[in-house]
């Protein structure tokens, strides 16, 4: 699994570099240019930009599901802003306190080093020009953002500043934060603000959350932004369906991890199949996240299905469909006792020049509603501590 994840992450980074430079994969006819050309997540301003170390996705979450003892599938790639790592760390901390004896009896690989590893990984991605110990900071949209706790937690654990847009200015060609002693330049910014809101001078001018001019400093090589702007295209579910080709094209190897079979509704014959079999399929929005805008055929009402059919016909290119997988379950402790629930697993991957570090653990997400397949935390999913046990 680790090797498969590494292979996939390497391919994703190579893909991003390629589509923002020569687009060889399109010229070779391996993916249609419409996948990129009509893609809202494609960021033209990144064309020709070479991020420090050539790394676009510094932090990746590859979501995995299991349908049999040795049968794993990649459900989704999260290269834009994978979240949930704070839950992983807090869950382990809680378990260590509540059941220390379990950790004496089992050799469980640690995850508590993640913040240190993250800081080291981010520091290694600093632009060459900056000397000394790189200054890392976390950019948060602020206290009203639903993931604020994680932003503050990670900044605190890494020992770096947590900043908001209005703490930052362009000073002497660098992005700098306003400290009590003056403006201090930042080398690496781990940003949890979406692309559109990152820079009101270059992107959405209404944004109050970003830093005017940061894209200019970035393009001039004065700062590393993690994850790089424009990586959202790798999260795209239609691109997901091409991942096997993408892995092969950039690594020359067959993918070690399998993709879930996916129908692209942008293609007429595939759309026809999907419309015919809506009751059995899971249909997702291409740019969706958080489990919103999905249809789960087997558990949906006739009314939901009819409504979704209309949406599909109106904007077919906006959707992909997958078979309903019988996801594995694990027991949870509910009021009535032990009872099974469906889960997925999100291992976190840190990427720096010359190193791809898959955390020995990850976040198991639980669909708390009995029989539900929706595990996302924003929709009331739960989480579990996850152990990688040494033999």
């Amino acid at each position: 699994m680790t090797r498969g994840i590494e292979q996939r992450v390497r391919a994703i980074n190579a893909f991003l570099h390629d589509i923002y430079h020569r687009q060889e994969i399109i010229k070779a006819g391996r993916i249609p240019k419409e996948m990129i050309a009509r893609n809202e997540a494609f960021e033209p301003r990144m064309i020709g930009v070479s991020p420090p170390g050539g790394i676009y996705t510094h932090i990746v979450g590859i979501d995995l599901v299991r349908t049999g003892p040795d049968d794993f599938f990649v459900l989704e790639d999260n290269a834009r802003t994978p979240s949930g790592v704070s839950y992983m760390l807090e869950n382990r901390e809680t378990m260590l306190q509540m059941f220390p004896e379990l950790f004496s009896q089992n050799r469980v690989k640690g995850v508590q080093n993640y913040p240190t590893d993250l800081r080291r990984s981010l520091s290694a991605c600093a632009p060459d020009a900056t000397g000394g110990r790189p200054v890392v900071a976390v950019l948060t949209p602020g206290i009203y953002n639903s993931a604020y706790y994680e932003h503050a937690f990670l900044a605190d654990q890494m020992g770096v500043e947590l900043v908001e847009g209005h703490d930052l200015r362009i000073v002497d060609g660098r992005v700098a934060m306003r400290t009590t002693r003056g403006y201090t330049p930042i080398d690496v910014l781990y940003r949890r603000v979406d692309d559109a809101f990152l820079d009101p001078l270059n992107f959405n001018p209404e944004s109050q959350l970003g830093v005017p001019g940061i894209m200019d400093v970035y393009r001039a090589g004065g700062i590393t932004i993690a994850n790089a702007p424009g990586t959202g295209i790798a999260d795209d579910k239609a691109i997901y369906s091409y991942m096997p080709e993408i892995v092969e094209f950039y690594t020359g190897e067959r993918p070690l991890l399998r993709n879930v079979p996916t129908w692209r509704c942008s293609e007429p014959d595939q759309l026809a199949y999907v419309l015919d079999n809506l009751e059995e399929l899971v249909v997702k929005e291409v740019h969706g996240s958080g489990g919103y805008g999905m249809l789960i055929g087997p558990t949906a009402t006739k009314k939901d299905i009819a409504a979704f059919r209309r949406k599909l016909k109106a904007r077919p290119a906006n959707y992909i469909a997958q078979p309903t997988l019988s996801l594995s379950t694990v027991p949870i402790f509910a009021r009535q006792g032990l009872t099974p629930r469906h889960v997925d697993l999100r291992p976190f991957v840190l990427v720096s020049p010359g190193s791809i570090n898959v955390t020995a653990g990850g976040l198991t997400r639980v669909a708390l509603k009995k029989g539900s397949l929706v595990v996302n935390s924003s929709q009331g999913g739960g989480t579990k501590d996850t152990w990688v046990v040494e033999d």
């Binding site: 206290i143 503050a152 900044a155 605190d156 500043e161 947590l162 900043v163 908001e164 209005h166 703490d167 934060m177 306003r178 400290t179 009590t180 003056g182």
Partner: protein, 313 residues
């Protein structure tokens, strides 16, 4: 640290100090109202003035009654300086700067907040008032205790202290500003007596009645009270004590610099020019004018701190 963080710490501790001082003002007002029947509701006017809140109160209320004044000062959210508002502000700022605080300080602040929300959810009946006010003061002092006991003596601590002492100096000066006329030499009756109700009010407002009596004895009068509140360096709520602390903390923040920063200079100026002489010099200057001047300089000092340390920009 970020200018924004220094701002959060400064205001967290200013708000905590304000909550405590306001609770104390209510306590004093209540005590006087219960024991000095001749005063009626008029004393509450002075209390509102000391809290810097009279104008706002009058804009919102038709009549000044004890009940209305207490409720306004204690729990009205339209009053940004009420005990409840101040504790909520303190907690909001603590949340913003949480990673700069120790676990204990955060927990104590959060506990003060939860206690205030519960106890002040409804209008407090007279019977419960002493208990509620006592609880408020106790929660606030727990935060102070945790701060002293667990916080590293670094920049974070210095900004916290600055917030506390700027607010405290302002509070003492305001109390004096409202009551200055009872301390004037011309107003004091021949044959001093601590039974003078207004002196008692002033001393209770700064939790100093026992301490004062112990230090100055039964024969002390308005001159000694003025000295106690303005110049006595051992009295933790006096202007001199507060300015000394402010000056010290600015000095620590300025550590390593050859010359004092602008805020430091302002603090030094107040100390040297207004707090380094004896009380007779203050009365010669004119007590009322003196306090007005010092209040203005304190506001200027607070603004200078915001500028020097880039709270905004």
């Amino acid at each position: 640290m970020l200018g924004k963080t220094a701002n959060g710490l400064f205001w967290m501790y200013r708000s905590l100090e304000r909550a405590e001082n306001t609770a104390r003002l209510i306590e004093t007002g209540q005590r006087i109202a219960l024991t000095r029947l001749e005063l009626g509701d008029s004393e509450w006017r002075s209390v509102l003035e000391s809290a810097g809140s009279l104008g706002h109160f009058e804009a919102v209320h038709d009549e000044l009654t004890k009940g209305a004044a207490i409720d306004w000062l204690l729990r009205d959210r339209d009053n940004p300086s009420s005990v409840l508002s101040s504790i909520e502000t303190a907690r909001q700022n603590a949340r913003l700067v949480r990673t700069a605080l120790t676990h204990e300080v955060w927990e104590a602040t959060n506990a003060a907040y939860m206690s205030a929300r519960e106890l002040l959810a409804r209008k407090v009946v007279e019977r419960d008032l002493p208990g509620v006010l006592g609880a408020m003061r106790q929660s606030a002092s727990l935060v102070r205790g945790m701060t002293h006991g667990t916080m590293l003596r670094n920049d974070i601590y210095n900004f916290a202290r600055l917030g506390t002492f700027i607010e405290r100096a302002d509070n003492t000066a305001r109390i004096l500003d409202v009551k200055y006329y009872v301390l004037l030499p011309s107003a004091s009756a021949v044959g001093t007596s601590l039974d003078n109700v207004q002196w008692e009010t002033i001393l209770r407002s700064v939790s100093a009645r026992g301490g004062f009596r112990m230090e100055y004895g039964a024969g002390a009068g308005s001159r000694e009270i003025a000295h106690f509140l303005i110049l006595d360096k051992r009295m933790p709520r006096s202007l001199a004590f507060c300015l000394r602390k402010i000056r010290d903390n600015l000095g620590y923040l300025n550590n390593g610099q050859m010359r004092p920063g602008p805020a430091q200079n302002k603090a030094l100026h107040i100390e040297r020019t207004y707090l380094s002489h004896d009380i007779d010099a203050v009365f010669d200057y004119g007590l009322h004018e003196y306090i007005q001047t010092v209040l203005g300089l304190l506001a200027g000092l607070s603004g200078q701190i915001e500028t020097d340390f880039r709270f905004y920009e």
